[in-house]
């Protein structure tokens, strides 16, 4: 039979961002898949070489829209390492709150978002509504809903507002309550079971072959490969949390792991409020002078944090001037989002392509940076 060429994206409800896959199908089965990145390409890495160390702060959160704070954190960590700056204790804990809230925000969007490619739109709407509750809290803490620009080199931009603890605790309760509803709707739904259980497999060999990290890796190889545990940053070594792992990575396991991780994030945030210093400095100067003239000592550094999709890393080279010499971003979903699609989307049904994108955790801007 003759092959038909179909476009998934860039305008498609099942596509994640302005990304596209050209699928050559034979009947229902994908015979060949060509990922087509580039539609989001704004040259982030190149742009960063022409902006001051502080000016980049407006740019980096845009590399991954659903989870901007990881970018801020990893960038800040890089500069702090180069400049040999000690971040104030309280700032470490505030950063953890922000990072875990960001993890929940991102997980909830993709956990509810599984409703998109499966036709279960109620779950998507509930997920987005719940995400909005978190964005409200972000707005109160950082002054913005999506691009927070809150984690800055040297610490955080401002101290927490006065009633932040109560505000976040109230939010945690709302999340816990509504999450149960989402769990019923998604994880206990026979239709979802039928679509993603024992489907969209990610075998351990593929993980090693492509370099997949994050949930995909942990559910496939049954190892706690979470940077928060393996190479703790901020104060993750001082809080207790579990990292859900599995040895069988089908679509369902990965979706369920997101649900489990949200609970762990809530657990971390509650501990942070118990353990963090109640007052103290929240930002250290990374250099003398004003932000237009900050200089970062020459050197190179690779820093990484655990994002919802895996290891998110920045390789920063400084030549000691007021702008970075080179920044390279390791987008967490690059391996599966680019290489994986080409090689392993093949053989799946057309209607599984969107599910593949969703459960593998693909964030297209971080491929197109």
């Amino acid at each position: 039979m003759r092959e038909v060429k179909l476009f998934l994206g860039p305008q498609h409800p099942g596509m994640h961002g302005n990304y596209s896959v050209h699928m050559y199908v034979d009947g229902d089965i994908i015979k060949k898949a060509r990922p087509m990145p580039g539609m989001l390409h704004r040259g982030f890495e190149k742009l960063m070489e022409r902006r001051t160390w502080m000016g980049n702060l407006a740019l980096i959160p845009r590399i991954c829209v659903p989870e901007p704070d990881t970018n801020e954190m990893v960038y800040a960590m890089g500069i702090e390492a180069l400049a040999d700056i000690e971040v104030p204790e309280r700032a470490h804990w505030i950063r953890m709150i922000i990072l875990e809230l960001a993890r929940i925000t991102s997980h909830i969007m993709s956990f509810g978002g599984i409703g998109g490619p499966t036709g279960l739109y109620t779950a998507t709407y509930l997920g987005i509504a719940l995400r909005d509750e978190i964005l409200d809290v972000f707005e109160r803490i950082t002054g913005a809903r999506v691009y927070h620009m809150y984690i800055v080199p040297g610490g955080v931009r401002k101290d927490l507002p006065e009633n932040a603890e109560e505000d976040i605790e109230r939010l945690m309760k709302i999340i816990e309550e509504r999450l149960e509803e989402l769990k019923e709707l998604i994880l206990e739904n026979p239709m979802i079971h039928a679509r993603i259980k024992d489907n969209i497999m990610l075998p351990a060999e593929v993980v090693w072959e492509l370099g997949v990290t994050g949930i995909g890796m942990r559910t496939a190889v049954n190892k706690v490969n979470d940077l928060r545990k393996v190479k703790p940053y901020a104060r993750y070594d001082q809080v207790e949390f579990d990292v859900p792992v599995a040895s069988y990575s089908d679509g369902f396991t990965r979706v369920k792991t997101k649900y489990l991780e949200i609970h762990q994030s809530i657990r971390i945030i509650r501990q942070v409020f118990k353990k963090m210093p109640k007052e103290g400095s929240v930002r250290a100067q990374i250099s003398t002078g004003n932000a237009l003239k900050w200089k970062v000592p020459a050197g190179q550094v690779y820093t990484a944090v655990e994002s919802t999709r895996g290891e998110y890393g920045y390789f920063i080279v400084s030549d000691g001037k007021k702008m970075p010499y080179r920044i390279a971003v390791r987008g967490a979903s690059f391996p599966q989002g680019l290489l994986g699609i080409e090689k392993y989307l093949v053989g799946h049904r057309i209607d599984d392509a969107s599910l593949w994108m969703d459960t593998m955790g693909v964030c297209s801007p971080e491929i197109d940076r």
């Binding site: 026979p190 400095s281 003398t288 002078g289 932000a291």
Partner: protein
């Protein structure tokens, strides 16, 4: 976790009937719009009263959304540019870095976040205090101490302690490399200082040279507008620092000391190469310059660089005028003056010392021999104070004394005859120069000091710089500020002291200078009195005809903006006799006159 649902699970969905909906009704959206968070980064508000138009917001803006817009109704003022920021909300990313770096605390953000238009051009606004739409909105994002992106504190240079009064050693130590780099990184390069500097020096550029570690380039920037780099790096009146926008919220950038850092730390060969980089080929044209003070030197340097043959006539033994004979060694070491004058000599100017205009040489002669003449004779005579006893031989003028003291410190004469108890009349920088020099000389001669100062103004109103007053007090000067001198008591031909009275007011109701005093007398014991209440010029060298044709107001000749005399186009003036005493004014008027002389010679 059990992934299987129970058989009753469909019934559970009924509970949703009794829940609040997640969705928001249209009514809520339009009738009672949601209020943003207290910290919200919405549209900008800018308090025009506070805004100084420095444009730093535009510098940091990562999206180039901010442009400075000239506002006609605003006036250029010290530290104020007549510009306000305009925001292109088609580009703005609402990061708020502009708020965090605002030097004047005028720029903030509001909770306003709705602007709907299909017209691209309608996205540009110049926000005022009530936002972009002119509607009052609650305050949103504000800068605080944590988010502040300026470095507000000065990196102070080391100073000599109070034991400094035992010698003429320079008080202020220079910046170390690290400190200079740190201080230079505080500058936001707004250029408000340049607009305020009389000589319009390229201040942000030379500060940036320090920041980039390229001192030779710094020398080039300085010499572009000011050939007295060493002198101005030490004793300039630094109007730039009063204007510096960092001073609005913190301490202004130490511009003068950074200039000093450049001149002190550039290697000699690079310094010379940079300072003489503007020298061009010789051209036909001869210019005579009378007086080798700041204006004469400045004029000579720029004319030499343009290729003219320049002859400078100086009445004293050494060139320099006020910088040679006025600035005391502890503020302006001799080698700084020498270095500046050397560079000007190397640029091609010829010095003729011990040549007094009106005695050794006449203006008519100069007119014959040269294409143009520049007068920079300066205010080189002290003003006298018409009180009883002022004509006594132990009543000494400031200029005469400072000249003698300078010659003494450079080993060219004996120590001036200093009494054990001295009174100094005056409250300006010159009075402090006199008093502090006297303290040092007294210490050397007697091992102890007694110098009393008296001036009409109270301590807070004194025209002298604050650092002069504070340092003078540390060095043991006795202050009688707010006391007006009435007479100098003389007994048996010798001065006994100065009689003063407490001042009630300096000016009368009409604003005229007419001091009134309390009855009670305050007597200051002294056997010498120094008068430092101002300087003046003598115009004896002008012919009678010229005196009739040249208008002189408050001791200053009235000339065109470029220094040219209306009736005598070959004659130019600058410095004190044009603008009053200030070194940087001298540099500026000298430079302007050089340009005008060049134009004059080329047009003839």
């Amino acid at each position: 976790m059990d992934d299987k649902k129970s058989i009753f699970s469909p019934i559970r969905t009924w509970k949703n009937l009794f829940k609040e909906p997640f969705t928001v009704s249209n009514y809520d959206v339009f009738e009672s719009p949601r209020e943003a968070a207290d910290n919200y980064r919405g549209f900008h508000v800018n308090d025009w009263e506070k805004c100084v138009g420095c444009g730093t917001c535009g510098e940091i803006c990562p999206t180039n959304a901010i442009e400075m817009f000239e506002i006609e109704s605003l006036e250029q003022d010290v530290g104020h540019e007549p510009e306000r920021p305009s925001f292109d909300y088609g580009r703005c990313s609402f990061c708020g870095l502009c708020v965090d770096i605002c030097t004047s605390d005028s720029l903030n953000m509001s909770k306003e976040y709705v602007h709907i238009s299909t017209d691209y051009n309608s996205m540009k606004f110049i926000p005022k205090e009530n936002g972009i739409h002119g509607i009052e909105f609650k305050d949103g994002y504000k800068r605080d101490d944590v988010s502040d992106l300026l470095d507000l504190g000065r990196y102070e240079m080391k100073h000599e302690g109070v034991e400094r009064k035992t010698s003429f050693i320079e008080i202020v130590k220079g910046f170390s490399r690290e400190m200079a780099l740190a201080e230079s990184s505080r500058c936001v390069e707004c250029g408000v200082c340049t607009a305020t500097c009389p000589a319009q020096m390229n201040i942000p550029e030379y500060i940036n040279s320090v920041y980039e570690g390229n001192l030779k380039e710094g020398i080039e920037w300085i010499y572009k507008t000011n050939p007295l780099a060493n002198v101005c790096g030490r004793i300039c009146t630094h109007k730039c620092e009063d204007a510096c926008v960092i001073g609005n919220r913190g301490e202004s950038v130490a511009i003068r000391w950074l200039k000093r850092y450049i001149v002190d730390n550039t290697p000699e060969d690079e310094y010379e190469e940079a300072a003489l980089s503007y020298v061009t080929e010789k051209v036909n044209g001869k210019v005579a310059i009378v007086g080798s003070g700041p204006s004469g030197l400045s004029c000579a340097y720029y004319l030499s660089t343009l290729g003219y043959e320049v002859d400078i006539f100086e009445k004293n033994d050494l060139p320099g005028g006020v910088i040679r004979y006025g600035g005391p060694e502890y503020r302006l070491p001799e080698e700084s003056v020498v270095k500046d004058i050397e560079m000007i000599e190397k640029s091609g100017a010829n010095f003729h010392c011990n040549t007094m205009l009106g005695e050794d040489i006449q203006l008519d002669e100069l007119k014959e021999k040269y294409d143009s003449v520049f007068l920079g004779v300066g205010f080189s005579y002290s003003r006298s104070l018409p009180i009883p006893g002022h004509d006594h031989e132990d009543v000494i003028g400031a200029i005469k004394f400072l000249g003698e003291a300078s010659d003494y410190t450079r080993g060219m004469r004996e120590m001036p005859d200093i009494a054990e108890k001295i009174a100094v009349i005056g409250g300006g920088n010159v009075a402090f120069d006199v008093a502090r020099t006297l303290v040092r000389l007294q210490f050397e001669k007697y091992g102890e000091t007694s110098v009393s100062m008296a001036a009409l103004e109270s301590r807070d109103e004194l025209p002298a710089d604050l650092e002069e007053i504070e340092e003078g007090e540390e060095e043991g000067l006795l202050f009688n500020f707010g006391y007006g001198p009435q007479s100098i008591k003389i007994e048996d031909g010798k001065i006994k002291g100065l009689s003063t009275k407490k001042v009630i007011s300096i000016f009368d109701d009409d604003g005229n200078f007419n001091p009134s005093y309390e009855e009670e007398e305050n007597f200051i014991e002294a056997t010498q009195v120094y008068i430092a209440i101002g300087q003046m010029a003598k115009y004896d060298f002008l012919s009678e005809e010229m005196k009739d044709n040249i208008e002189i107001v408050r001791g200053q000749v009235q000339v065109k903006e470029n220094g040219q005399f209306e009736k005598y186009p070959w004659l130019f003036a600058g410095g004190d006799i044009m603008r009053g005493p200030d070194i940087i004014n001298g540099v500026e008027t000298g430079h302007n006159a050089a340009k005008a002389i060049d134009e004059y010679i080329r047009s003839n």
